[in-house]
Amino acid sequence: MFFEEPTAAYESLTARMKALAVVRPIVGLDSSKAKTERGWHGYRLAELALAAVDFVALSSDMGTMVRQEAVAKEVARYAALQVPEGTESEREAVGTWITERLINVEERDRAFRQPIGTLNEEGFSVRDFPFQILREVPDEVGRAALVVTEAAINVLLHAIDIDVASAQIATEARLTAMLKRARIEDALQAALHARRQSLRYAKQLTDWRAAMQRSVRAISWADQVDEEVELALEHVKARSDAETAMRQRVGELLEVTEDEGKRRQLIDLGAVLADCLARHAGLTTLLVELGPEFRRQQDRQVFVVPALHTRVHLEDQLLRPVLELPIDSADGPLAAFTRAAFGPKRPHVLYLPDFFAALCRVTEIQSLEPAVVQTDHEWDESADEPLFTAEQEQEAADLLASVPATGVRLSSLLQQARLNPPGVSQRWGTDHLVALRVQELFRNIPVSRLAEGREAVVAIDDGVELDDQRFGGSDFLVLSVRADPVNATGGAPAARPIPSPRRPGAPALAKDQV
């Protein structure tokens, strides 16, 4: 996840908890004792409470205020919609009760309280968060009238029935303002908030896309989506510009700020902004893809003849009947199902010219970095015990290096190798290593060495059978040769008896092992 100061992250939790606390008294109305005691089962009290808040908020907009009675009357009007058969007095009672509950008349200071945890420099603590929903204030003639508190407006009016786009703009404005005043902690909160808005935005778009993938008819492109997408695209572009500017501002602030704590906050803020930008890039893609996706879905769903498949209830129509069939009869239907479920198998060879073309084609990934081959270092790190010790390797190399130009038989090389018996720790003696090396020489003639005119040791199979107690096969003639360099004289070094690399008859395989 993203690096965030724990106090900053927790502050966001606290802030959201406060918002949720404001919802609680409203939601709690429907589970209150009064509702059951008074037989108000048919009324949805929480909804009536929201209606009350709405009424007060709208009525007290222009500096005017509204009296409690008016609110109760308004609530009664809504109550009549919910329970038309209820009596007038019952509705009035409901209206009054709800208004009083929203003012919280039972508390002396009229405050609702919610314990909420906070984290600050002193550590974690739980404090009571007091808040009000409807507040009584004296009006211009000194009589008590009702206003809606800030908390109630923010949570109950704004947050629940929110317009994503405008909320995002508001957040952005707040963030910029805070950055200007270098209130970094607040700005970080605002940035985190902006990020949540982005998440919601993305969710709305993906929901949309999912809906149209299910059925394009669920969405009217011309009426609804087209305009919205245009707006949203513009909006995302503007947001990206704004966030780029803010990041720049954060960079500037970082240069002038000395305070270590502030610097860290700024870095956090930069990280959040960078994340926002990345999200917007994702959102832009989503928006750009929405149109083609709609057309694709439209092609798929509308312009295509209805699919041939009928709805099949797998359990009722297939599984249950087949379970009762005798095994022999069930085989046909079940095999047909399984065969069809798996689709075509992959053929081993499609068409040979295709393979040729495929092999010759340059891959799409153009970076032709040579693959890293294991280095000596990695070999050394191998956990396997080496079969032969370094001394044995050296011994075998010395033996082969001292091979004369006249040649020497493998059998005599093996004899020489056995002069030094293997130590107790070795499974195999040096003779085994020599046999392997000679076999290697037979198979891989050092052509490049010869072509360069350098001396090289080669093994030749002249048909002599190896007579040895451990190894079988040909008794190779091992000899050191030197050829003329290919480009020196122009004469081909054809005179040399370089054998064809055919397989020797049963190469030096240990008789007693394998």
Binding site: T310, V312, Q317, L318, L319, L323, L325, R339, A340, P347
Partner: protein
């Protein structure tokens, strides 16, 4: 139509036959899928090319690319013996394949929902089949019918009995689950689906959970379910979905022998 168009069409078939090829990972494949949706002539050509292989185009999707279905004649059609060489396990294995699909898409609308992801586990599939088999057994016991197969004719034993006879887990001498236990058979069936890219295994609570790939739903919906309905209809069995009739009984009604009549399969016989 030029030779290049033919190459494009056949290339798309080749892409579909290749394992693990998806438009998202190949710009060429993505281009071909896009062309399929935009260019009806090209789409037709792809259909014709597939027909040449005795394959049918089940769907073309930007997520899974071209999805091909086999016809009975196709040489590319998978033989069931390849999947389950042991003839003794074969009926149970095939039943497991059907049960997996049924449990992954419990409602018919799940097959239609492009966003739907089915989830199954080995034990859930096994329990599910057992539950149905036990329900049949109870009903038959209540009716007092004799369902023992005639001696020497194991092929006449009812499938549900064969499944119940097989132990779910058990232990071998080596303290392993026997290879032929019904759960092992279900596990093998799921593993094959994973191998073919129709399912993905995800870590689950206690045991692995298998989730369906988009392709699997298309194969079941567009082809497998219909093929099986046709086969059942040929045996004279047709059943309407009980949920559509508005009543859901615990015990299924006995199969309807006799003339297929107007079955749902009739509409599928395209």
């Amino acid at each position: 139509m030029t030779n290049d168009d033919v190459a494009d069409a056949t290339r798309m078939i080749a892409m579909a036959l290749g394992r693990g090829r998806v438009p998202a990972r190949s710009s060429e494949y993505a281009r071909l899928v896009q062309r399929y949706h935009r260019d009806p002539d090209y789409a037709h050509m792809v259909h014709m090319a597939a027909k040449g292989f005795d394959l049918t185009v089940l769907g073309v999707d930007h997520r899974s690319g071209l999805i091909l279905g086999t016809t009975a004649e196709s040489s590319l059609s998978l033989s069931v013996t390849e999947l389950v060489p042991n003839t003794g396990d074969r009926p149970l294995y095939l039943l497991a394949q059907l049960a997996i699909a049924t449990l992954a898409f419990p409602r018919p609308q799940d097959l239609d929902d492009d966003e739907f992801v089915g989830r199954v586990t080995v034990s859930a599939v096994d329990d599910y089949v057992r539950e149905h088999a036990l329900a049949i057994e109870q009903r038959i016991n209540a009716a007092g019918e004799d369902q023992d197969p005639p001696t020497g004719q194991p092929g006449l034993e009812a499938l549900w009995r064969a499944y119940l006879r097989r132990s779910a887990t058990g232990r071998t001498k080596g303290d392993n689950e026997p290879f032929g236990s019904s759960r092992k058979i279900v596990e093998r069936a799921l593993k094959h689906l994973v191998d073919y890219g129709f399912m993905h295994k995800v870590p689950g609570d206690g045991e692995g959970t298998y989730v369906t790939h988009v392709k699997y739903r298309v194969q079941i919906r567009e082809l497998a379910a219909g093929e099986m309905l046709k086969e059942l209809a040929a045996l004279g069995i047709s059943r309407l979905p009980s949920s559509d009739l508005g009543h859901k009984t615990g015990d299924p009604a006995p199969p309807t022998p006799g003339a297929p009549g107007p079955t749902p399969a009739a509409t599928l016989a395209d």
